[in-house]
C-alpha cells in the first residue's frame, strides 16, 4: 500500500494540474447556480409586484420564477454532469491507477445484480438497482471487483382520496466488494451484523437460531467477533474452515477500522463484502474548492477501504491447494 506522503507527491505532480481545470468548471457551475437563483428571485419579486397590481393572479406570480427554475435547472444539470464526469475520469481514475496499476476503473459500471443477489447477503430482490464507480482487476494473486451500489424496494400506499403513492426504501447503500477467496469450499456462509445478541444476550442467540431463511446458526468461539456478528451457514465444519480464528480477528479489526456496518458472505469460491455508507462515494465537491489535498485524501481512503480488504483479510496467502 502507498503511503500518504506518496499520495501527496502524486497530488502535487499529477492531480493538481487536473484539479485546476476542474476548479474552473466548478466555479462556472457555482456561477450558474447563483445567477439562476438571482434571476428566479428577481422574477419572483417582479411576479409578486405585478400579481398584486393585477389583482393577485396566481399565474402571473408563479409562471416567471417557475420558468426561471426550469431553464436554470436544465443548464445547471448539464454543467453538473459534465463536471462530475470530468472529475471521475481525471481524479478517481487517476487515484485508482495510483493505488494499483493492475486495476481498471469504469465510471458508469457497477457490480452485476446477479452477483449481488448470489451473495445472499440481502435476500430481498430490489425494485430499483443502481450503482457506479466500478473497479476491477488483480491485487497479487487475488482478483477483485467493487463498486458503489444502491438497492431499493418499493411500497405503495393509497390515501383517503384514492391516490396511490410510491415509497422507496433502501435495502443497501454503500460499497460492494467481491474477491476470489483463497481456500476451496463448497458451502455458503453469511456473516451479518449482530443486533439480536447485542440487545438480548443469550435469549438473542436463541432468536438467531430460529432464523429459518438463513441456514444453521454457527456459534463461534471468538467472543469479540460474536459481539459484532452473527454467522449462518450450510455446513458447521466448512464454515469454521472459512472463518479461521485469524480471519475472525481480521474481520473484527476491519469492521472496527471502517466504523461502518459490514456484511460478508462466502459462496461460489468468492468472498463478498458489503460496507454501508450514508454518503455518496467518489462524488465531487461543488460549493467548496477542489484545490485541496483533503478531499483527494478522502477519496483515496474510501478506495483503499475496498482495495485494502485483500490485505485486511489476507486473501493473497495461498498456502492451500487453491493457488
Amino acid at each position: 500500500m502507498k503511503t500518504i506522503e506518496q499520495l501527496k507527491a502524486f497530488y502535487d505532480t499529477v492531480l493538481v494540474k487536473d484539479l485546476y481545470v476542474l476548479e474552473e468548471k466548478r466555479r462556472r457551475l457555482v456561477n450558474t447556480f447563483l445567477v439562476t437563483a438571482g434571476i428566479v428571485g428577481i422574477l419572483a419579486l417582479g411576479g409578486l409586484v405585478i400579481g398584486a397590481q393585477a389583482g393577485g393572479s396566481a399565474l402571473i406570480v408563479f409562471i416567471p420564477p417557475g420558468l426561471g427554475i426550469l431553464i436554470g435547472g436544465i443548464v445547471y444539470g448539464i454543467q453538473r454532469k459534465d463536471y462530475a464526469g470530468d472529475f471521475k475520469s481525471r481524479i478517481i481514475r487517476g487515484l485508482v491507477g495510483f493505488l494499483d496499476p493492475g486495476l481498471t476503473y469504469s465510471e458508469h459500471g457497477c457490480i452485476a445484480e446477479s452477483d449481488y443477489m448470489a451473495s445472499k447477503i440481502f435476500t430481498q430482490r430490489p425494485d430499483r438497482y443502481t450503482g457506479d464507480d466500478y473497479v476491477c482487476g488483480r491485487i497479487g494473486a487475488t482478483s477483485i471487483e467493487f463498486s458503489e451500489l444502491h438497492s431499493e424496494y418499493k411500497t405503495t400506499s393509497t390515501d383517503s382520496k384514492g391516490r396511490t403513492q410510491t415509497h422507496w426504501h433502501t435495502i443497501f447503500k454503500g460499497l460492494f466488494f467481491i474477491a476470489d477467496f483463497n481456500k476451496h469450499f463448497n458451502c455458503e456462509v453469511v456473516v451479518l451484523p449482530d443486533t439480536a445478541e447485542r440487545f438480548f444476550g443469550r435469549f438473542g442467540q436463541k432468536l438467531q437460531a430460529l432464523n429459518f431463511f438463513r441456514g444453521q446458526l454457527i456459534k463461534l468461539e471468538d467472543p469479540e467477533f460474536e459481539r459484532f456478528f452473527v454467522v449462518y451457514g450450510s455446513d458447521q465444519i466448512q464454515a469454521r474452515y472459512i472463518l479461521s480464528t485469524s480471519l475472525m480477528q481480521r474481520i473484527t479489526r476491519f469492521a472496527q477500522k471502517t466504523g461502518q456496518t459490514v456484511y460478508l458472505s462466502f459462496g461460489g469460491s468468492r468472498v463478498h463484502v458489503a460496507i454501508s455508507y450514508r454518503k455518496n462515494l467518489f462524488e465531487p465537491r461543488i460549493f467548496s474548492t477542489m484545490l485541496d489535498f483533503g478531499p483527494v485524501r478522502e477519496y483515496y481512503e474510501d478506495l483503499q477501504v475496498a482495495v485494502g480488504i485483500v490485505d485486511d483479510l489476507n486473501l493473497n496467502t495461498r498456502i492451500w491447494t487453491k493457488q
Binding site: H184, Q236, R240, T245, I319
Partner: protein, 181 residues
C-alpha cells in the same frame, strides 16, 4: 375440564421435547465427529506419502513420525476408538509439524514439486481438521450444557446421556491457526 386437558398435554409434551432436543444434540456431535474422523483418516493416509517424500532428509523427525504411524499400522482405522483418535490427532499434528519445521533446512527439498504439492495438501488438511475440531467442540459444549443444565439434566440422567470429551485445542491454535496464515 378443557384447561386440565391442556395442562396435562403440556406436562406430557415438555419432557418429550427435552428428550428430543438431547437426541438432536447428541446426533449433531456424532455427525460432526464422523466428518472429523474422515479428515483424520485422510491425514493418516497421507503420512506414508510424507515419509517417502522426505526420505534422506530430516531423519530424526521422520523417524518419530514413522514410529507413531507404525504403532497403529497393524490395526484398521475403524477399530481405533474415538477417544484414541482424539489423542492420536495431537501426536500426529506435533510430528507432522516437526517434519515441516525440519524441512526448512533443506532448500532443494522445499523447492521440489512433489513436496510443495504435499505441503499444500497437508496445510489444507490441518486447517480443515482444526475447523472440524472447533465444530466438534462447539457441538460438545452445546450437548454437555444440555446434559448438565436444569431441567434437561433430569431427562439426561433418566436417558443415560453421558458427558462427552472435548478435543484438546493446542495453545498455539487458540492464538493463531496451526498453519499460520
Amino acid at each position: 375440564m378443557w384447561p386440565l386437558i391442556v395442562i396435562l398435554i403440556i406436562i406430557l409434551l415438555v419432557p418429550v421435547a427435552m428428550y428430543n432436543s438431547l437426541i438432536a444434540k447428541r446426533n449433531q456431535v456424532r455427525n460432526i465427529f464422523a466428518t472429523t474422523d474422515a479428515l483424520l483418516k485422510k491425514r493418516f493416509d497421507l503420512i506414508p506419502n510424507l515419509v517417502t517424500t522426505v526420505k534422506g532428509y530430516a531423519d530424526h523427525e521422520r523417524r518419530l513420525l514413522e514410529d507413531i504411524t507404525r504403532a497403529r499400522a497393524n490395526r484398521n482405522w475403524d477399530q481405533i476408538s474415538d477417544d484414541e483418535k482424539i489423542v492420536m490427532d495431537n501426536a500426529f499434528r506435533k510430528a507432522v509439524g516437526g517434519v515441516m519445521l525440519a524441512v526448512e533446512n533443506y532448500p532443494d527439498l522445499k523447492a521440489s514439486v512433489n513436496f510443495l504439492h504435499l505441503q499444500r495438501t497437508l496445510n489444507e488438511l490441518e486447517e480443515q481438521i482444526s475447523a472440524a475440531r472447533r465444530a466438534y467442540n462447539a457441538s460438545v459444549m452445546d450437548y454437555n450444557n444440555a446434559v448438565e443444565m436444569f431441567p434437561t439434566n433430569i431427562i439426561a440422567a433418566m436417558g443415560n446421556f453421558q458427558r462427552k470429551n472435548f478435543f484438546e485445542i493446542p495453545e498455539t491454535e487458540r492464538q493463531a491457526p496451526a498453519v499460520s496464515e
